[in-house]
């Protein structure tokens, strides 16, 4: 089919010729496939094993509860009694005790995705406002590359004037900020009294904690899901450490 734009369009279902496109497609689709498998495990209690060899020869695998367990089970099909037994056990497991940590991670993921939606809506509003301002067409809001010498000098002068007033205003606000930090401390926010730490706490709050968050099966920790209150499986300890490093 011939289309005028390069938006979303159907692709031919055969091996891709372009090598770099193939690599990118593999990476994206592999991630999407594992995502769908994870959702299916959560929604229906299924146990899924996926094995994919990349064009470069590496192997990617996803397994719930684990790759080793499922591949071991798959390699011993003759133990029918074991399979039947595990089926019954699996059914009980699904009905009575969903994995708390996985449910907790799913809740965090849902929360972060909801926040993303809010930011996207906010962006739409801001873009509309920006469009209407461009129609007004003030010379000083042009792109910097389009300014001439006079305009540039005048804008620099104006900005420096505003900056002087701003610095005076900030010196006044620093006192108010100290007062705010004091209130922050009294309300139990960790790290109050130091502006840098306070900003860091704000950032972490924005990402990890929402007073309106509802956890059906689990009491959330105050900050992050690797708090001491959350039991971390030993098999994932290394990954958790690595994750902590990435996060900070």
């Amino acid at each position: 089919m011939v289309r005028s734009t390069k938006g979303r369009q159907k692709i031919e279902m055969k091996k891709m010729e372009n090598e770099s496109n193939l690599q990118v497609t593999f990476s994206k689709r592999r991630f999407g496939l594992f995502k769908k498998a994870s959702e299916l495990c959560t929604l229906s209690g299924a146990e899924i094993l996926l094995i994919v060899f990349s064009p470069g020869g590496k192997v990617f695998s996803f397994g719930h509860p684990s790759v080793q367990e499922l591949i071991h089970r798959f390699s011993n099909p003759n133990h029918n009694s074991a399979i039947v037994h595990h089926q019954n056990n699996n059914l009980q497991l699904v009905e009575t005790r969903p994995d708390r940590n996985i449910q907790y991670l799913n809740n965090i993921l849902t929360e972060v995705l909801a926040n993303q939606e809010k930011e996207k809506q906010k962006r739409m509003v801001l873009d509309l406002l920006k469009e209407s301002r461009e129609q007004v067409g003030n010379w000083y809001e042009k792109d910097v590359k389009d300014l001439d010498m006079n305009e540039t000098n005048q804008l620099i002068s104006a900005l420096q004037d505003v900056k002087k007033k701003l610095v005076r205003e900030m010196s006044q606000y620093s006192q108010v900020n100290v007062s705010q930090n004091y209130f922050g401390q009294s309300s139990g926010v960790i790290g109050g009294g130091n502006v840098g730490i306070d900003l860091f706490d704000q950032r972490r709050n924005a990402f990890n904690y929402n007073p309106n968050m509802v956890f059906p099966n689990h009491t959330p920790p105050m900050f992050g899901y690797n708090n001491d209150g959350v039991l971390v499986p030993i098999s994932n300890m290394n990954y958790m450490s690595s994750y902590n490093f990435n996060q900070s």
Binding site: M13, T42, F62, K122
Partner: protein, 320 residues
């Protein structure tokens, strides 16, 4: 599109139906992946609903791929291996990174708009706190660097074109005069407000707004907090209305400027300087003591999206 809650589906019939649909979807995706990229892959699904596990592409095909998998060295096997927990952590990390970028972009747009409004002499119309001022200062420093770079570029290229209308040194002063008369209108009445530490609380903020809004606007503001998608755009329309007034104001300002051009004598210039100098005093006073309501959209955003309090890291780094 209806959002699916990420937890075990309680109703067993719905759970089974969802399982069947999604299982086929996964097999389809696996087929597309292996066909497009020319790679080997397999899937194995155990479920309480089917006694025999389902395989893709077939039982023998899956067994062959599994055997190839087992023949690989252990390190190569486990390097890219993940279970549901590690996969969810990866997704959370990616989602948080995206959220951080989105929030930073939105913050930058707002601060830039705040900066240009300050240049136009509208700082008193904003309600801001110390962090807003810090971000504004960082944004201005960044923009001044770009402008200085622009000057260097003009000098290097010998680009000496002047704008068709040569602006007066007090061009900004003219804007301030216009804004002053504009600020006297009922829409932008200026009243003294004492800031409080709870100013950033959306509810307190909404309360503080009450004395400055008429009944209809107050009703709209209340609705904004609970029916954001509709009233958010009502707020946008109010903003459009304000900008149209601003546009008329700019036209008047241009006419005034054109009128001045026809009298290029020193007396007029002195008069302009005098007026500009006199106007700067109330501007400074307003900066110190007068704080007015937020722009409509920012108020709506603040009321509706209280969790967006992220810090724009590059600016903070510049400020440190």
């Amino acid at each position: 599109m209806k959002k699916v809650k990420l937890s075990l589906i309680a109703n067993e019939r719905s759970r089974k139906t969802s399982f069947m649909k999604r299982k086929n979807g996964i097999f389809k995706k696996l087929h597309e992946l292996s066909t497009l990229c020319g790679v080997q892959a397999c899937a194995l699904i155990y479920s309480p609903f089917i006694p025999v596990p389902e395989s893709w592409p077939s039982r023998e095909g899956a067994k062959k791929v599994a055997s190839k998998f087992l023949e690989m060295p252990r390190t190569a096997r486990t390097r890219k291996m993940m279970d549901q927990e590690t996969h969810l952590m990866e997704r959370i990390t990616k989602a948080k990174e995206q959220l951080k970028n989105l929030a930073a972009e939105n913050r930058e747009l707002q601060v830039r708009r705040f900066m240009f409004d300050c240049v136009e002499g509208k700082m008193s119309q904003y309600r801001y706190d110390a962090k807003d001022l810090q971000d504004l200062l960082s944004c201005m420093n960044l923009y001044l660097d770009q402008l200085n770079g622009r000057i260097e570029s003009i000098k290097e290229n010998g680009e000496s074109l002047l704008s068709s209308v040569s602006p007066f040194p007090t061009r900004i002063g003219v804007d301030e005069i216009g804004d002053e008369s504009f600020s006297d209108s009922p829409i932008h009445s200026t009243t003294r407000v004492v800031d409080t530490p709870n100013a950033t609380n959306p509810h307190v903020l909404a309360g503080d707004m009450t004395p400055f809004l008429d009944a209809d606007a107050n009703a709209n503001m209340n609705q904004v907090q609970y029916q954001a998608p509709n009233n958010l755009f009502n707020q946008i329309q109010r903003e459009f209305y304000n900008i149209n007034l601003n546009l008329n104001l700019n036209l008047n300002s241009n006419q005034y400027l054109n009128q001045q051009q026809s009298f290029m004598n020193p007396m007029v210039e002195q008069h302009m300087n005098h007026v500009g100098g006199r106007e700067s005093i109330p501007f400074v006073d307003r900066n110190y003591y007068n704080y007015n309501q937020l722009p409509a959209v920012d108020l709506a955003s603040t009321s509706y999206m209280p969790s967006t309090t992220d810090v724009y890291d590059p600016y903070i780094n510049n400020n440190l």
